[in-house]
């Protein structure tokens, strides 16, 4: 079953899950609810897109949730300070990119393990998000770029549109560009990449910066969605993002993975969360079901590996 399952694997899990939910949860199967799921998935999916690229290089970014907070806060602060809203929006994204760049600098130049670098930045960036606002959320009901969180384009919620665009861009970068090949090469075999003449440090730096920018964009959407700067935003989002990436078949060892898989992974988590709410499952049991499904999903997905290696 090798090839077929390889392509389909986790997607089949998503389809099964949707069928199950359609039967169990009234209201699940409707266009409106589909859009709800897509909208609620969008933030995690955008974080996970950047995370995919980082994980393909064999790294990880635990700080995405904190970057989201810092970027959201920056964007709102800029807007409130009178900066035109497109610039405020870009400022937020840039703050994310800068935070990612700093992560990348430690990983690329000092060759520190990404896990601990981003564990550190997860902590200090959270602190920065708090201290920018002295711990208080900052409400901005007339936020200039509120549409990016609450609007819709031709009936599709804007966050969903942004998410789709982000995925197209990431897919293009990873599949169709020289840089994308280099990302896979660095993750697949860093020493070989270096000896093949690839500037490994530059690739790593770029990847963390892009990941930071994606988290920054997610932060902008978050703040537009809640019309305020929230220093507590995005706590523990990194785990959902990583779960989406891994469910999507990207290897934490690096060198292998596809951003489309990540989208499917994010949708699985989103459908699960949404479906359990619609089914009125008590919160505690939601956690149990969610945890078990995550494990089962990767277990099912791993079947293809068994199929392939023949052992």
């Amino acid at each position: 079953m090798g090839f077929w399952w390889d392509k389909v694997g986790i997607f089949a899990v998503l389809v099964l899950l949707c069928i199950f939910m359609s039967i169990m949860a009234p209201y699940f199967l409707s266009i409106d609810n589909g859009l709800n799921v897509a909208r609620s998935v969008s933030i995690n999916a955008i974080l996970a897109a950047g995370m995919t690229m980082i994980i393909i290089t064999g790294g990880i970014d635990l700080s995405v949730g904190s970057i989201l907070a810092v970027s959201g806060v920056t964007g709102v602060l800029l807007f409130v300070a009178g900066v035109p809203s497109p610039l405020a929006l870009l400022g937020g994204v840039a703050a994310g990119a800068l935070a990612g760049f700093i992560n990348g600098a430690f990983v690329a130049w000092l060759a520190l393990p990404a896990f601990i670098v981003t564990l550190g930045s997860m902590t200090y960036l959270r602190g920065i998000a708090y201290s920018l606002l002295e711990g208080q959320p900052l409400i901005s009901s007339d936020l200039g770029y509120r549409a990016i969180g609450n609007g819709a384009v031709a009936g599709i919620p804007t966050p969903v549109v942004v998410m789709v665009v982000v995925y197209l861009v990431f897919w293009f970068i990873l599949e169709r560009t020289k840089f994308g090949r280099h990302v896979y090469a660095v993750g697949g075999n860093m020493e070989a990449a270096r000896l093949a003449g690839i500037n490994v440090k530059k690739v790593l730096l770029a990847v963390y910066t892009i990941g930071g920018a994606a988290a920054g964009l997610a932060g902008i959407i978050f703040s537009a969605r809640v019309l305020s700067a929230q220093p507590t935003a995005g706590q523990s989002y990194e785990l959902d993002a990583i779960a989406a990436v891994v469910l999507g078949g990207t290897s934490l060892m690096g060198g292998r993975g596809r951003v489309i898989g990540t989208l499917v992974g994010a949708l699985i988590i989103g459908v699960l969360t949404n479906g359990l709410v619609l089914m009125n499952v008590p919160f505690f049991y939601q956690l149990i079901v969610k945890g078990v499904v995550i494990v089962i999903a990767v277990a099912i997905d791993s079947l293809r590996r068994f199929g392939k290696s023949g052992t």
């Binding site: 075999n189 990449a193 093949a196 023949g310």
Partner: protein, 518 residues
């Protein structure tokens, strides 16, 4: 030798088949090993030799067939079972624990304990003993094994397998990373073990070795056993290397090296007093356009290091490198590629290949810039160029999109060569270009190297395979302890002379060399 023993094989496999996905690695293979013999296995890359050995060693379980030791059927479900059955194996790929010391590596799985505590002192003394047995006395058991060169690590692996009190020992290309003198040491050991009545299975792509060691030779092709030549029974003269090559490749490879005269042009590479500030150098030498120069020496002589310095993979402390008369500074490999230097690294698996990426990506990896506009890849251009390279190198791959992992060693090596050819470098450094490559592929790689040289590229080869070095080069540089100790014309050099310089032990005081460097 006892007649009864002679008749009943020590080890026998019957009707073994093994399939990996779409690949039938072995089909219905029966094979036996007698006590007191060296049974050589030969065959092209991917013929199934290692797979059969892994089945014998309990690493893989066969899809069908059975294994017998001294007439009794046994089950080899895990490497443990093989140990219990006293079957030892030296795997083709290194299986070391890079973070552990040599002593710990030697002890893994069999750690000495007193009551239930580790006995570290015994671990070290055991290690000394084991290393001594294979003549690797210069290795300190307390060094982390990761700091040793590949060749040294291979010696440790041999020590580990040999030290076991085994009846059957499998050696899967043990000399691929060894140079002449270590190999000689190993051969002595193999002779001893055979004389003690052990059975040895010896896999190699080097015909000279097989010729020296084997009592019987069995040839594999495409997962099937093609035939066995009994050289002890028939006598060595009854069989010729060419018979075996024909069984392997299905055709004659009459002139492996295809020696021919080459036109040498002006000096392309000029190296003066290059050193890493430590054990390597200072070295000075030239390579001319169209010339093939090979660096030879014992393992650890520093040849790889010199190559890496030229390529910018390690930091140069002092000295100059000039290409086509212009002095250049190579800061890193990317810089080297940009300035016209290409390198095929020593270990293709660790340093060259992206195993999970397609063969196309692997081939084009260093020259993606040439296939893209504003960073966007032009797949059609890439595909046709890679096709071209594959045709000229005769790469055997089902398609350009299959993972490079699934290619045989020889074909993988060709991928990396193809990568270099796309770079069109002025200087090409080839570190052990035929390590682990079968004889058919070898002859093709030699042909390719010569074609590359013929285009005016300066080719610097590093090789531990002396016949190869003598066969393909114009000139030899002999290294010892980080320096070039001799330079000689390859036409007139002999293995003995090269060995004398490499080891520093001179048999006669009249070496046939062109000149000796200080």
């Amino acid at each position: 030798m006892d007649q009864v023993l002679e008749d009943s094989p020590l080890l026998e496999v019957r009707g073994i088949s093994k399939r990996f996905g779409a690949t039938q690695a072995l089909s219905d293979v029966s094979f036996d090993l007698r006590p007191g013999e060296v049974h050589a296995l030969m065959g092209e890359n991917g013929a199934g030799k290692s797979t059969l050995m892994k089945i014998i060693a309990g690493t893989y379980s066969p899809d069908s067939g059975s294994i017998h030791m001294m007439g009794n059927q046994i089950v080899m479900a895990s490497p443990r079972d093989a140990m219990t059955a006293k079957v030892g194996i030296i795997h083709q790929e290194l299986n070391t624990f890079p973070e552990m010391s040599v002593a710990e590596n030697l002890a893994v799985g069999n750690e000495p304990t007193t009551s239930f505590m580790l006995n570290r002192r015994k671990m070290i003394s055991d290690a000394r003993e084991k290393l001594e047995r294979v003549g690797a006395v210069n290795i300190d058991p307390r060094t982390p094994i990761g700091r040793l060169s590949v060749g040294m690590q291979q010696m440790v692996e041999i020590a580990r397998a040999v030290a076991e009190d085994v009846k059957v020992l499998v050696l899967d290309e043990p000399t691929a990373a060894l140079s002449m003198s270590e190999s000689k040491q190993l051969f002595g050991l193999i002779h001893q073990m055979r004389d003690r009545g052990m059975g040895l299975i010896y896999i190699s792509h080097r015909m000279e070795e097989v010729w020296e060691l084997a009592d019987r030779v069995t040839v594999f092709r495409d997962g099937k056993l093609v035939g066995t030549k009994d050289m002890r029974a028939a006598g060595r003269d009854a069989v010729s290397p060419n018979d075996i090559v024909r069984m392997m490749v299905g055709r004659d490879v009459d002139d492996l090296y295809g020696r021919e005269e080459r036109e040498l042009d002006k000096v392309r590479l000029e190296v003066r007093d290059l050193t890493d500030g430590g054990a390597i150098g200072p070295v000075s030498f030239d390579v001319r356009a169209g010339e093939i120069v090979t660096m030879v020496g014992l393992i650890g002589a520093g040849r790889t290091e010199v190559g890496r310095l030229l390529y910018g993979a390690d930091k140069v402390a002092a000295g100059t490198i000039s290409l086509d008369g212009r002095q250049i500074r190579v800061r890193n490999p990317g810089d080297a590629v940009a300035k016209g230097i290409g390198m095929l690294p020593e270990s293709r698996k660790d340093q060259a290949l992206f195993l999970e990426m397609s063969v196309r990506d692997n081939t084009a990896m260093s020259t993606l810039g040439a296939f893209s506009t504003f960073g966007v890849l032009n797949f059609r251009r890439m595909k046709s160029k890679v096709d071209e390279i594959f045709t000229s190198l005769r790469v055997r791959a089902a398609s350009q999109s299959i993972e490079s992992r699934s290619l045989s060693g020889g074909n993988q090596q060709k991928l990396v060569l193809g990568r270099l050819m796309l770079e069109k470098p002025a200087l090409m450094i080839l570190d052990e270009p035929t390590r682990g490559v079968d004889i058919g592929a070898k002859s093709e790689i030699y042909r390719i190297i010569k074609e590359i040289a013929a285009t005016g590229t300066a080719v610097l080869v590093i090789s531990s395979d002396l016949p190869e070095a003598l066969g393909i080069s114009d000139r030899l540089l002999v290294m010892r302890e980080g320096r070039i100790v001799a330079e000689m014309d390859a036409q007139s050099a002999t293995e003995e002379v090269v060995m004398e310089h490499a080891t520093g032990v001179y048999a006669d005081q009249n070496p046939r060399m062109t000149h000796e460097q200080p």
